[in-house]
C-alpha cells in the first residue's frame, strides 16, 4: 500500500517534470511519440496512452460511505491525473460518480453526482481547464463488484476518470 502510494508520487513528480516542457508543442502533437528524455519504465504503456492513464496514473478514487470528500490518497492520485491532463491538453475527461448499493436509487444518483463533481472541482483547482471535464452520475447502477460486503462496497464507491 505504502509502496504504491510512493510510486504514485514518483510518477506525479516525473509528470510534473515533463509538464515543464513547452505546452504549445504538445497541443499539436497528440499522437507524437513521448519525449525521448522521459525515463519510461522498460516495459509498459506509452506515457501518452489511455492505458498509461488508467493503470499508471490511476483513473479511480474511492470514497467513504455516504461521503464525497477526497482523502489524502485520492488527492494524490488526482494530482497525478491533473498533471497528466496538463501534459496532454488535447485529452478530455468524463468523471463518473458511483455508489455502493446501500442507499436508495435516487439518493445515490445525487450522491454519485456530488462525488463526480468533487473530483472535477479538485482537478480544476489543480489547473485543468473547466471545459475539458464533464461529469456523469451512475448512482448504484454500474457496480464493478457484486458481493454484498464492505470490501466490495468500498470499491464501488468511486469516482472514475474516463479519458477520451
Amino acid at each position: 500500500m505504502k509502496l504504491r502510494f510512493l510510486s504514485v508520487i514518483a510518477v506525479a513528480v516525473l509528470l510534473a517534470a515533463c509538464a515543464k516542457k513547452p505546452v504549445e508543442t504538445a497541443a499539436t502533437a497528440v499522437s507524437a511519440p513521448p519525449p525521448a528524455a522521459a525515463p519510461a519504465p522498460p516495459r509498459g504503456p506509452a506515457p501518452d496512452s489511455l492505458e498509461y492513464f488508467n493503470t499508471v496514473v490511476g483513473n479511480m478514487v474511492n470514497f467513504a460511505y455516504d461521503k464525497y470528500d477526497l482523502d489524502a490518497a485520492a488527492q494524490t492520485k488526482l494530482r497525478g491525473q491533473a498533471a497528466w491532463l496538463k501534459q496532454y491538453p488535447a485529452r478530455t475527461l468524463t468523471v463518473e460518480g458511483h455508489c455502493d448499493e446501500r442507499g436508495t436509487r435516487e439518493y445515490n444518483l445525487g450522491l454519485g453526482d456530488r462525488r463526480a463533481n468533487a473530483v472535477r472541482t479538485f482537478l480544476i483547482a489543480e489547473g485543468v481547464p473547466t471545459a475539458r471535464i464533464k461529469t456523469i452520475s451512475y448512482g448504484k447502477e454500474r457496480p464493478i463488484c457484486v458481493s454484498s460486503d464492505e470490501t466490495c462496497y468500498g470499491r464501488n464507491r468511486r469516482g472514475t476518470s474516463v479519458v477520451q
Binding site: R105, D113, R120, I144, S148
Partner: protein, 443 residues
C-alpha cells in the same frame, strides 16, 4: 384507444336493477378494510355462462380474472366452484340463496356473456348479498371481444368498491424496469403490464439505461430517467403513440421525476454543479421553478394529492431524511426522526393524502418500507428485506408495491403489501424487475 373503449363502455353500461333497498339490508356482505387484518370474505363466482363455445370460454376466463383479482386483494376468498350446488345458466335465473348459504358464501357473483346483433359482446353481472338475498350491484358492458379482460377487471373493481366502500384498483397497469444480464453490466428496459401481470410488453429496447418511471395521473404518459446517448435526462413517454420527448435539455443531472396530481407539471431533482435541488416544470409553458436552494442533496419530490404540498428527501441534516414543503417551496419542515442512524428516502404521498410511504435504512443492515403521516407521526413499518425500496401506491391508497433485491447481485423482484402490513404477494414478471409505478384507475 382506451378513451374510445371508455366511451363504448359508458354508452353501453346499464344498471340492470337499481339497488332499491337501503344499504343496511345487506349489511352482512361488508368489509371494513380500515380494521387491519380481516378474515377474507367467502365469495362464490360461478362461470359466466355463454351460448357458444367461444362465449363459454370467455365467460370462464372472465370469472377467473375476477376471482383472482379479488383473491389477491386478500379481502376475499373465492369458493371452489366444484362445491357449487346450483348451476346459474343465465343472468335471469333466480339464485337459491339457501344453497349458497350452505357453502358459507356471503356474496355471489352471477354473470353472463352474450353476442349482440352489432357484433359486440355484452358481459353482465349481478352481485348478490347471499344472507340478505338482495342484489347489491348489477351492470352490463358492451364492447369488442378483445376487451373482455379489461371488463373483468372493471367488474372486480365494482364488486370491491360495493363491498368495501373504497374504490378498486384492478383496472390498472404497472410500469416498471425489467432487468437482465450480469449485475455489473445490467440491461434495463421500460416495461408495462396490467396489475395482474397480463398484457406484458417492453417499451424500450435496453440500449439506454432507464430508471424510475412514473405514471401521469391524467393521461397515457410516463415520465422517467434515461441515459440515452449517455446523458441522463428526464423524458416523457406516450404509451399509446410510443412518442418520447426530453423534458428539457439543460446542463447537469436531472432525475427523480414525478407528475403533479393534475398531470400538468413534473417535479424533479436537478444538479447543475454537484448540488441537487428540487424543481418543477410546467409541461405547457416549460417554465422551470426552483423550489429548494440548499447545499445538500435535495431529491425525490412527490406532490400531495391536492397539489398544495411536496414531500422530498434531503441530507441537509447530515443524513437523508424526509421533508415536507408548500408547493411554492416555502415552509420546508423535516418530518422523519428515526432512531440511531436511520436514513429515510423515496417519500411518496398517498393518493388519499393521509400518509407518506418511504424507504428506511442505515440502522441494522436491512431496508424497510414504511408509512408515516404527513406531520411525521404514526410511523409504521410494513415490509423489510436485505434491500427493499421505491414504494408506489395503488390508486385507492390501500396497497403498496415495491422492489426487493437479494444480496450479492441476486434476483430483483416486485412485491405488493397491504397498508395493514399483511397480504404480501410477489408480482410475477418475465425477468427481474425494479422501480414499479402504479397507474391511476384507467379512465
Amino acid at each position: 384507444m382506451r378513451n374510445a373503449l371508455k366511451k363504448v363502455l359508458l354508452v353501453c353500461a346499464v344498471v340492470l336493477l337499481a339497488a332499491a333497498h337501503a344499504p343496511n339490508v345487506y349489511a352482512q356482505a361488508r368489509i371494513d378494510i380500515t380494521r387491519g387484518r380481516v378474515e377474507p370474505m367467502p365469495i362464490a363466482i360461478p362461470l359466466f355462462p355463454g351460448n357458444t363455445e367461444e362465449l363459454k370460454q370467455m365467460g370462464k376466463d372472465v370469472s377467473e380474472v375476477i376471482a383472482k383479482d379479488l383473491e389477491r386483494s386478500g379481502l376475499f376468498r373465492p369458493i371452489d366452484q366444484k362445491a357449487f350446488l346450483q348451476d346459474l345458466t343465465s343472468l335471469d335465473v333466480q339464485p337459491r340463496f339457501a344453497d349458497w348459504r350452505t357453502l358459507a358464501a356471503q356474496a355471489l357473483v352471477q354473470g353472463s356473456v352474450d353476442m349482440q346483433p352489432n357484433g359486440q359482446i355484452r358481459i353482465a353481472f349481478r352481485l348478490w348479498d347471499v344472507f340478505g338475498g338482495q342484489q347489491m350491484e348489477g351492470k352490463g358492458y358492451g364492447t369488442d371481444s378483445g376487451n373482455w379482460r379489461r371488463v373483468a377487471h372493471m367488474i372486480a373493481d365494482l364488486i370491491y368498491s360495493t363491498i368495501t366502500g373504497e374504490s378498486g384498483y384492478f383496472d390498472t397497469r404497472v410500469v416498471y424496469i425489467a432487468e437482465s444480464g450480469p449485475a455489473i453490466n445490467r440491461v434495463k428496459r421500460l416495461a408495462i403490464m396490467d396489475q395482474d401481470g397480463a398484457n406484458h410488453r417492453y417499451l424500450t429496447d435496453g440500449s439506454a439505461l432507464v430508471l424510475t418511471p412514473r405514471f401521469s395521473p391524467s393521461g397515457p404518459e410516463i415520465t422517467y430517467l434515461s441515459y440515452f446517448r449517455n446523458v441522463p435526462r428526464v423524458y416523457m413517454f406516450n404509451i399509446d403513440t410510443g412518442r418520447q420527448e426530453v423534458l428539457g435539455d439543460f446542463p447537469g443531472l436531472q432525475y427523480a421525476p414525478r407528475f403533479s396530481p393534475d398531470g400538468n407539471a413534473v417535479a424533479f431533482a436537478a444538479s447543475l454543479n454537484g448540488n441537487s435541488d428540487v424543481y418543477t416544470m410546467d409541461l405547457r409553458s416549460r417554465k422551470m421553478v426552483r423550489l429548494t436552494d440548499n447545499p445538500a442533496i435535495d431529491t425525490s419530490p412527490s406532490f400531495s394529492p391536492k397539489g398544495d404540498q411536496i414531500t422530498f428527501a434531503s441530507d441537509r441534516g447530515g443524513a437523508q431524511q424526509i421533508y415536507v414543503m408548500n408547493a411554492d417551496g416555502s415552509n420546508q419542515q423535516r418530518i422523519s426522526f428515526g432512531a440511531g442512524k436511520a436514513r429515510y428516502g423515496t417519500p411518496v404521498w398517498s393518493p388519499r393524502g393521509d400518509l407518506i410511504a418511504f424507504t428506511r435504512y442505515g440502522t441494522d443492515g436491512n431496508f424497510y418500507i414504511g408509512v408515516m403521516k404527513p406531520d411525521g407521526s404514526g410511523e409504521r413499518t410494513l415490509a423489510q428485506g436485505f434491500l427493499v425500496e421505491g414504494p408506489t401506491w395503488s390508486p385507492n391508497g390501500r396497497v403498496l408495491m415495491y422492489d426487493a433485491q437479494a444480496p450479492n447481485g441476486g434476483k430483483v423482484r416486485l412485491f405488493s403489501i397491504d397498508l395493514s402490513g399483511y397480504n404480501q404477494r410477489e408480482i410475477l414478471t418475465p425477468q427481474d424487475a425494479s422501480d414499479p409505478a402504479w397507474s391511476p384507475l384507467s379512465p
